[in-house]
Amino acid sequence: MSLLRGLLGMELIGTSVRLFLDFQEKLASLDMRNLRFALKQEGHSRRDMFETLTRYAFPLAHSLPIFAFLNEEKFNVDGWTVYNPVEEYRRQGLPNHHWRITFINKCYELCDTYPALLVVPYRASDDDLRRVATFRSRNRIPVLSWIHPENKTVIVRCSQPLVGMSGKRNKDDEKYLDVIRETNRQISKLTIYDARPNVNAVANKATGGGYESDDAYHNAELFFLDIHNIHVMRESLKKVKDIVYPNVEESHWLSSLESTHWLEHIKLVLTGAIQVADKVSSGKSSVLVHCSDGWDRTAQLTSLAMLMLDSFYRSIEGFEILVQKEWISFGHKFASRIGHGDKNHADADRSPIFLQFIDCVWQMSKQFPTAFEFNERFLITILDHLYSCRFGTFLYNCESAREKQKVTERTVSLWSLINSNKDKFKNPFYTKEINRVLYPVASMRHLELWVNYYIRWNPRIKQQQPNPVEQRYVELLALRDEYIQRLEELQLASSAKLSDPSTSPSGPSQMMPHVHTHF
């Protein structure tokens, strides 16, 4: 017996190697796992086996298609129809007097990493937008993500301004931000949240970037949120992996966990999102969010803030729309961050930014166990298929690339799998509350490592038994439904009796709707 790993000097590391469901050899998808295969000493097949494995594990390096393009699974729901930007903006009450939908990016000419359809201030013309684009990194101009239904303050996202060492200014950009500020008729300043630590934002000037200075943007107030870059996050997750595999630290668990900084990063991301949400919710001012390019930390902040503000996104379909909108359509570089089918696992572009977002969502769902329609399994399933390449949902870096590859025609959507089995992903405690803003507590006292995700492969940590409170609740739900049915039957029987001597039919028929109103 010999270990494949030892023999061929190759490491199969969970976070860097993605195996996918292959049609010949069924290899499960993996994350945070180390798989080692021992092969029998029977000679020649060992090398073949390894080659087959690497070829299919890293199809892009071997000019092979990703499995999603070969997958012939059929579902009774088409997940590609879940997100329709026009409908989603209409749900938000857009367009309105102040915001319009523009098709300026229809052929991805204005910005190749943005979606085709954008919502911009009514008072900004398409020419204005083109001029602003020249001053924003990768032409990612400020566009609307979300509008408050009552106070009409907005969350706007973009990339950093191209200020550079010389401190360049751009009148069009300055005017554009002022137009945004004025859309909700607030006299107050526009709040800009720069996700980066202050020092990084300053350093970015050296490479042509920067931030909105006080002198140039009189009507804006800038805050740095101190969230670190993709490299820091990648290293942090690596450290998490080290403390949970192969052995879970026992007596020094807490200090080991602290030394990974993972939960500290989660805390900062949540804190930033809370600030964005609070600013908008209190109606004090509209908010502009950016980091460097506006596709990593910016996506985290806008989507988490929207999750806190808008209960629609806490439903299964709402969450799918949120991911589809803020992450997929706005060009979070999934292909680069995950490295689908690519063998270069040391690639510095890789980073668990989306995983970190899902972790934040999980932390919120732990703190508010009745506020989300979906359960933990839903979040884990999303992460599993973030890596599996079974679905086209997370393939490629941006909408233009996906369109070129005809992803929606040639692959299946992850939402097809989920929406055709919705019951499996539902949280029984879910209570729909329309205008409730959720503010999680971003304190280490409440944040915890997501054991059921990060340590699920370690046999020493047993998968948690179903939560007894939840189990009991589900039993009671079933009992309630049974009783309601019995009551209905009894009522039918008695009203049949009563209807004979033609007495008042009001009694029983009034009762039932009353019972139903609770549910």
């Binding site: 508010f368 959720l438 304190s443 915890e448 007894p468 009551l487």
Partner: protein, 637 residues
């Protein structure tokens, strides 16, 4: 609301740090002074309770949205409690007040609950003891239940400050005579109301009948008998009047060493194995006396070492387990993490929270207690062995482990009445020295003993008997237990394997909540009991969230199902009759905070709490932090 003013800074990461002490602006006081006297809340005294001293125009600080607000009122001290009489309670709505403690109000601190008193002099916090030369402008009281009270005395008359501060210090710190404890004056003044529902009856274990009932319940009566040899405490004061021993044990043996060296029954397992405890024999230097002890123990072990008794495994808790000192030290450090004076302190400690927790080693101690209890459970359940717990007085760690084992193994102990009976059996009758361990009489400050709910944690004076005790155990094992037990010695690896196998196989099966229950003990699974420890900290409060959110959904659903059931029953009995309206749902879960029902809603607005101190240095990751996100391929997209 009277005397209310917002003081201190606002939230946000950029906000200035709120200063340690904040005060209401003086001009606000004069305008409110009249109201204070008019709206004063009356002091509720229990029967037998006496007012000792009081002070008016005291300001109680309330932490709210990262500012401090002050409420004027009267601070009083009785022979039972310190109480603040303000008008704060009017702010609470009915939903919350229906869960109020009727004896000890929100602003009451019983004298025995006071842990530490601090005075603030010129913005500096100092612990207060004994006679004071100078009186503080602010009083901070840390309670044993982890509440923290801040009372401003700046606007109180000097005479009253002196009286109340020295009164509080005296009544919470001076040594007390047992007969002066408040409960005695309360008991003589209050109506004695002992009528109890026999169905919900806590077994007190103060009669022979109660022990017989427990023996019968656990089917221990085959091999064990209840004895009344200590009735009237003729044999020893540390022993309960009635207890259970192996059937063949002669009653005279109990008298030999005042109950020491006697295996006392705690509980019997369904397979007949029993959990026993034994306190050590007195330490003797004299060879002759040692010989007497040895032959006495020989006799005892012969009794319990032949069939029908199972093999005995001895657990020497005095030498092979946590020391009481370890537990006391850990708890002192641990509780300090929750006695938080203000928001700034909360967020400053938040960054290093995990390492602070770890350095207290409290959670590690909890894990070791649970692990030991699982090991004992494994012996009883899987190895079919009796387990004998040995401890100097058999009244500290014995109480802890025997009750933990019973909670894991006996579903009856997980009912309310069963748990109360368990506490009565193992802790009260088991002779746990609550008076010393909690230091109710305040014998001396250094010997402060602590108790922590079902884990009574104690500090013992360094034990001169420990060496002897260890020898004693070796002696017992080698000489007396002989061949039958020898395989257990020096085989800790084997024990560990047995433990692992037992633990892992249990956790790999679906749980039967009415059977054996084993807790998870892996590092990530042992967590802070948030509802107890964080309950008074406003920053840690999750509005409308936490476990209470699911619990109240469950309660609502139970109510609904019950109501439907009633309706169906009524239909069966009287068809077509008009039914009663559905009762209003218990409460709206969105309104409750995660700390419910311990703490009432302390934040009145829905503003989020924001950390006020941010990032700690990354250390070795600094290089990475300076890198740009897309440093490889600018412009590849």
């Amino acid at each position: 609301m009277l005397g209310k003013g917002v003081v201190g800074g606002g939230g946000g990461t950029k906000a200035p740090k709120p200063s340690f002490v904040s005060y209401v602006r003086p001009e606000e006081i004069h305008t409110n002074e009249k109201e204070v006297t008019e709206k004063e809340v009356t002091l509720h005294l229990l029967p037998g309770e006496q007012l000792l001293c009081e002070a008016s125009t005291v300001l109680k600080y309330v932490q709210e949205d990262s500012c401090q607000r002050g409420i004027y009122g009267k601070l009083v001290c009785t022979d039972f409690k310190i109480a603040f009489l303000g008008d704060d309670e009017s702010a609470l709505d009915n939903d919350e007040t229906q869960f109020k403690n009727k004896v000890i109000g929100e602003n009451d601190i019983t004298l025995h609950c006071v842990d530490q008193i601090y005075g603030v002099f010129d913005e500096k916090k100092k612990p207060l003891f004994g006679q004071l030369k100078k009186y503080p402008e602010k009083l901070i009281i840390h309670c044993k239940d982890l509440r923290v009270f801040h009372f401003g005395l700046r606007y109180t008359k000097e005479e009253e400050v002196k009286r109340i501060v020295s009164g509080i210090i005296h009544h919470t710190q001076a040594p007390k005579l047992l007969k002066r404890l408040f409960l005695f004056s309360y008991a003589s003044a209050a109506q004695n109301n002992t009528a109890t529902d026999p169905k919900n009856h806590t077994v007190m274990f103060d009669t022979l009948k109660d022990w017989c009932w427990e023996l019968e319940r656990t089917k221990g009566n085959v091999k064990y008998k209840a004895v009344s040899v200590n009735e009237g405490y003729k044999v020893g004061e540390r022993l309960p009047a009635f207890f259970v021993v192996p059937t063949p044990l002669p009653e005279e043996d109990v008298r030999c060493f005042q109950g020491r060296g006697i295996p006392i029954w705690c509980w019997s397992c369904h397979n007949g194995c029993a959990l026993l405890k034994m306190s050590a024999l007195p330490k003797e230097q004299d060879d002759g006396l040692l010989q007497v002890q040895k032959s006495f123990l020989d006799g005892i072990y012969k009794t319990i070492h032949r069939p029908p008794y199972e093999i005995v495994k001895t657990e020497d808790l005095s030498s092979n387990f946590l020391s009481l000192q370890d537990i006391q030290t850990a708890y002192s450090k641990f509780k300090q993490l929750f006695l938080i004076d203000n928001s700034t302190e909360f967020w400053d400690t938040d960054i290093k929270w995990f390492s602070l927790l770890e350095s207290s080693s409290w959670l590690d101690i909890i894990r070791r207690c649970l692990k030991k209890a699982i090991e004992i459970t494994e012996c009883l359940e899987a190895q079919n062995m009796n387990v004998l717990l040995l401890e100097e007085n058999a009244s500290d760690l014995c109480c802890l482990l025997s009750s933990l084992v019973q909670v894991m193994m006996d579903p009856h102990c997980r009912t309310r009445v069963g748990f109360q009976s368990l506490v009565q059996k193992e802790w009260i009758m088991g002779g746990h020295c609550f008076l010393d361990r909690c230091n109710h009489l305040r014998q001396s400050d250094k010997e402060e003993h602590q108790r922590q709910l079902s884990l009574p944690l104690t500090q013992s004076k360094s034990s001169p008997k420990r060496g002897f005790f260890r020898e004693e155990t070796d002696h017992l094992i080698k000489n007396l237990l002989g061949r039958r037990i020898s395989k257990l010695i020096n085989s800790s690896d084997e024990l560990q394997d047995n433990f692992r196998e037992f633990y892992e196989s249990w956790h790999s099966k679906p749980t039967d909540y009415h059977g054996l229950l084993l807790p998870h003990i892996e590092g990530p699974e042992i967590k802070v009991w948030a509802q107890r420890y964080l309950r008074w900290i406003p920053e840690a409060q999750i509005l409308g969230g936490g476990r209470v959110a699911t619990m109240s959904k469950l309660l609502e659903m139970m109510e609904e199902v019950e109501h439907l059931q009633e309706k169906i029953d009524e239909r069966h009995h009287s068809q077509g009759a008009l039914l009663a309206e559905a009762p209003p749902l218990l409460r709206s879960s969105a309104r409750l905070s995660s700390l419910f029902p311990f703490a009432l809603l302390q934040r009145h607005s829905s503003k989020p709490v924001l950390p006020t101190s941010g990032w700690k240095a990354l250390g070795d990751e600094d290089d990475l932090a300076k890198r740009e996100d897309e440093f490889v391929d600018l412009g590849d997209v």
